[in-house]
Amino acid sequence: MIEVNNLTKRFGDFTAVDNVSFSVNRGELFALLGPNGAGKSTTIKMLTTLLKPTSGKLKLNGLDVVKDPDAVRRSFGIVFQDPSLDTDLTAYENMELHGIMYGVAKKELAPRIEELLRLVELWERRNSFVKTFSGGMKRRLEIARGLLHHPKVLFLDEPTLGLDTQTRHLLWSYVDSLTKEKAMTVLFTTHYLEEAESNAHRIAIIDHGKLIAIGSASELKKSTGTDSLEQAYLELTGSEIREEEVDAHEAWRSIRRARNMR
């Protein structure tokens, strides 16, 4: 359903995604794991027509992503890692706009919106402006919106970031039923390894833009001789902190330094 062949993306002379190849089968729940800055979101952006690859081939639902972006857009849905709501509209209006853009039939639209807003427990707040929502509520709305139409391929980029445990469980059981009942293909990223371990059929691990391992959770554990996915992951990616996090630490330290000087 998804085919990635020798995919590379450079920003200037920095290589964010480095010759990555993998494929995802129809109905599969596939996890893309890796430390901060590994290139997960960049890979998803290329698969979803938002970025052009520097080189390599990308196919989705049998269609060439670069050559035929319009047809490809009809085949997938996505929940972005970064915010993507119109905060000047209400929750309901955001859902409605999305449904209409994805061509959800008129008589299906209202019941579908109600079902999903109830699922994420935002139905009572449907007429509130999104700018009045908490971070987690916005995230729940984005999840509901991503599930509103039923695409062949669904991308979830850190969908559970900032979500409470209840909503995380709801999300995964809903996604699981979609893969089973509609044979929907799902590619997701997460930093909660237990989510990948208990939900993903297969897992790919990338680091510094390179694919370093791929297989089911038990295969990854076996090949590294570890007994949890977390240990296998640390074995594969090493335990040093990545650039971005170091930067965050550095920033935090300089803030404190500035405070102490006062």
């Binding site: 857009r73 997938f76 915010p83 993507s84 709501l85 119109d86 000047d88 509209l89 209006e93 999305h98």
Partner: protein, 248 residues
């Protein structure tokens, strides 16, 4: 069609929900009308040119539509900054429909603003020469609004930040507006100024609005309509092409 409609509606809703935008966009033209209209009225009259307020109102209406329409491009940049733009760029709707839905919405709000200025002008003493003809003025305002919202969507698709967008407003749109004859007659101006005015598309809209509301024209109605049609086609083509290459 549903997609174009819902994108149009989004702009309309955002407009009516933002009282500050309505008031702000009326404030500036009102200031021009009062400060210039009353300030220069006597000079204008002394020069034997009649009532300056009458002359000024079509120009200020064009100004309102022009800058309100430019604001639509800023909305695209705001959408990019708030992240909503990504959502519209992955939907299975052609770039043309996405552009035109938003641009029509932006154009509608710009024409509403222009009409509000018209009613304010009536309140401070402006009188059109023929009431039916004000409907023709409405058509001209629509043409200008759609041309400029298309243009500003084109600009918004490749200018990444507000500073860049403001620069285009400052160095292109403001000069074109000031040199369009909206604020003063183009008779007896230096040749270079006259030439700029004659190749400036805004001049023709201003002139067409004067034709509809005052019954006077400098370039002639046919030249006005021809120039406005060319401007509309060129700017819609520009907007459509630029928007096709929009990046998040």
């Amino acid at each position: 069609m549903r997609t174009v409609y819902i994108l149009w509606l989004r702009q309309i809703k955002r407009y009516f929900r933002s009282r500050s935008r309505i008031v702000g966009a009326i404030g500036q033209p009102l200031l021009f009308l009062l400060a210039l209209g009353y300030g220069l009225g006597s000079v204008y009259k002394a020069a034997g040119r009649g009532n300056y307020l009458q002359f000024l109102v079509p120009g200020i209406m064009a100004q309102t539509v022009l800058f309100s329409s430019m604001f639509y491009g800023a909305m695209i940049i705001i959408d990019r900054q708030f992240g909503f733009l990504k959502e519209t760029l992955v939907v299975p709707v052609s770039r043309f429909k996405i552009m035109i839905g938003g641009a029509l919405g932006g154009a509608t709000t710009a024409v509403i603003q222009g009409s509000l200025v018209f009613f304010i002008s009536l309140a401070i003493g402006f009188r059109p020469h023929n009431w039916i003809m004000t409907l023709v003025a409405l058509v001209f305002m629509c043409a200008l609004a759609l041309a400029i919202t298309s243009f500003s969507s084109g600009i918004g698709s490749f200018v990444q930040d507000m500073q860049g967008f403001q620069a285009i407003n400052q160095f292109l749109v403001f000069p074109l507006y000031f040199l369009s004859g909206a604020l003063y007659p183009l008779n007896n101006v230096p040749t270079w100024l006259r030439i700029i005015a004659e190749i400036n598309p805004i001049s023709y809209t201003v002139d067409a609005l004067r034709w509809a509301m005052l019954g006077t024209t400098k370039f002639g109605l046919r030249a006005d309509i021809l120039a406005m049609s060319i401007t509309l086609v060129v700017l819609m083509t520009f907007g459509t092409i630029r928007f096709r290459h929009i990046r998040d």
